[in-house]
Amino acid sequence: MQSIIQVTGLQKSYAGQRVVDGLDLSIHKGECFGLLGPNGAGKTTTLRMLLGLIAPDAGEVTLLGLPVPQAAREARIRVGVVPQMDNLDPDFTVAENLLVYGRYFGLTDGEVEARIPSLLEFANLTNKRDAKVPTLSGGMKRRLTLARALVNDPDVIFLDEPTTGLDPQARHLIWQRLRELTQQGKTLLLTTHFMDEAERLCHRLAVMDNGRLISQGSPRELIEQNIEPQVVEVFGETSAEWANEHAAKYAQRFELSGESAFCYVQDAQPLVAHLQAQSALRYVHRPANLEDVFLKLTGREMRE
C-alpha cells in the first residue's frame, strides 16, 4: 500500500525532556489514522513535526513523498490542517475567510471563488456565507475551519482534536463529513482523546504515551490484543470492599476507581450470576471498548 506519511525514529526534546521519543509511523493512502494519547503524550508536537513547523532532533519524516522539514513548503501545498484551537479571521465573513486562506496556497481569487459554494455546502454554511465569524456558533466555526482546510483540495488532512468542545449534534455532523472525506480517497490523520470518535472513524490507531508509541492496530485489534473481551462495572458504596474480597475469584483483572470496580473477564456469566445476588451493588455488563484499552495502557492517573 502507498505510504502517505512515513516516520522513522522521530525524536524531540524540550529543555531536556523527551516529548517525542523514537516514534515510527506509516500512514497509508485513503485511511483515517488516529493518534491517541493523554494530554502531554506528544501528539501535537508530532503533528507539528510532520508538517515541518518544528525541526526534529532526530529521525526522518516523509510527507507525500517529500522530505520534511526540508521540502515542507512543497508538501504543505497538498495538506489541509484543522488546528486544535480555532484561528479563523474574526474580522472577516465566512466567505472571506475561505478566499483569504486560498490565496495563501497561491490560488487565484477566481479559483477560490469557484470552490466556495461547494465548500460552504460541505460545511452546511451556505446561508452563513456573509456572516461574520464572531456571530457563528462553536460548531459552525469548527465546520468553517474544516472547510478552510479543504480550500486547496488537499490529499492529506491533519486534524488536531477536531471535535473538542462541541455538542453531540455538532460532533456527529463533523464525523459524517470526515467519513465522506475518506470515501473520497483523502488520507486523514487525527488526534483525539474521545475514544468513541476514534472507534467510529479510524481505520487504524496508535496509542502514544510519554512520547512513545505503545500500541498500534485497528480498533478491534487493539481491543483483542490488549484486554479481556468483557467488562463488568460494579457500583455502590460497598463496591471497594466487595471487589477486594470477591473480584479476583471471578475476574482476570480488576481496577478500583472511586466507587466503581472495573472487572475485566473472559466469561462474564459467573460474575453476573454472583452480582445478581448482591442487593447493595449495581452493575453494568458490556463488551470491552477502546476506552478500557486506553486506560489500561496509559493508566488512570490524571495528566495535567
Binding site: 484551537m85 480555532d86 484561528n87 474580522d91 472577516f92 490565496r103 495563501y104 496556497f105 497561491g106
Partner: protein, 261 residues
C-alpha cells in the same frame, strides 16, 4: 543552540497574500483608522504651532509651525509603525493565532515576519501621507522636494516596524509594550528634534540622540520639507536601513525561537 534559528531570511513572493489580508482587514475600519492617523498629530502640530509659535520668532530658519511640520510627519509615521508592529502584530501572532493559521499553509515564518514589517510600513506610509496632505493644504511646505517625504515615510515605517517586532517577539503580554513606549518611543520624541533642535540639548543627550533612528529621519525630513537637499543624506538613509535590517533579522531569530516551542 539551534543554528537553524540563525539562518538568514529566505524571501519569497508568498508574503503578498498576507499583506492582502491585512489590507482587507484595514479597509473595513479605514475611516476610523485615517481619523486616528490624523487627529493626534495634527492637533499637536496646530496647538503647539499656533500656541508656542506665536511666542517664538522662528526656529531653524523657518516658522515654528513649519519646523514642527517635518517633525510631526516623522513621529506620526514612527508611532503608526510601532503600534502596528507591537499591538496588532502581537494580536495576530498570539491572540488571534492568525500566524498559526498561515504557517499551516505553504507560507514560512520568514514570509510572515516580512509581511508584518511591510504592512506596518504601509500603515506608516498612509499616516505620513495623511499628515502631509494637511501640511500641504495649510501651505506649510511649498517645495516639490517635499514629495520625497512619501518614500521617506515608508523608510521610517520599515525601520520602526522592524525594531518594534523585536519587542513583539519578546512580549509575554500586551502590558510589556508599555516599557517600550514609555522608555523608547516617548523619549525619542523629545530627544530627536521633533519639537526643538537637537542642538538645544546638553552634549551627552546629543550623543544619545545621534544614534537614534528618529533623529536621522528628521535630519532628512526637515530640509526636504524646506526644499533643500539634506546634508549627509546617504548617511541618514543608511542608518535607517541598518535599523531595518537589524530589526528584521533579530526579530526573525526571536520569532523562530518563540514559535518552535
Amino acid at each position: 543552540m539551534n543554528m537553524q534559528e540563525f539562518a538568514l531570511p529566505r524571501f519569497s513572493l508568498r508574503f503578498f497574500p498576507i499583506w492582502q489580508r491585512h489590507w482587507l482587514v484595514w479597509k473595513k475600519i479605514a475611516a476610523a483608522s485615517i481619523m486616528g492617523h490624523l487627529a493626534d498629530p495634527v492637533i499637536y502640530m496646530l496647538g503647539l504651532g499656533y500656541g508656542l509659535g506665536s511666542l517664538l520668532p522662528e526656529m531653524g530658519g523657518m516658522s515654528y509651525m513649519a519646523f514642527l511640520a517635518a517633525g510631526t510627519v516623522c513621529y506620526s509615521t514612527m508611532n503608526s509603525a510601532s503600534f502596528e508592529a507591537l499591538y496588532s502584530g502581537f494580536a495576530r501572532m498570539h491572540e488571534q493565532r492568525t500566524w498559526e493559521a498561515i504557517l499551516n499553509t505553504p507560507i514560512s515564518l520568514d514570509d510572515v515576519v516580512l509581511s508584518e514589517i511591510l504592512w506596518a510600513a504601509t500603515k506608516s506610509l498612509m499616516s505620513g501621507v495623511a499628515v502631509l496632505v494637511v501640511i500641504w493644504l495649510l501651505g506649510l511646505s511649498h517645495s516639490l522636494m517635499s514629495l520625497w517625504m512619501i518614500p521617506l515615510a515608508l523608510l521610517i515605517g520599515l525601520a520602526f516596524a522592524a525594531i518594534g517586532l523585536i519587542m513583539t517577539a519578546l512580549a509575554p503580554a500586551y502590558d510589556f509594550f508599555m516599557y517600550y513606549f514609555t522608555l523608547v518611543i516617548t523619549p525619542m520624541m523629545l530627544l530627536c528634534g521633533v519639537f526643538f533642535p537637537v542642538t538645544q540639548l546638553p552634549e551627552s543627550a546629543q550623543m544619545v540622540a545621534s544614534v537614534l533612528p528618529l533623529t536621522h529621519a528628521i535630519d532628512l525630513a526637515r530640509p526636504l520639507m524646506n526644499g533643500t537637499v539634506p546634508p549627509q543624506a546617504l548617511l541618514h538613509i543608511g542608518v535607517l536601513l541598518a535599523y531595518t535590517l537589524f530589526g528584521f533579522y533579530v526579530s526573525l531569530v526571536l520569532f523562530r525561537r518563540r514559535l518552535s516551542k
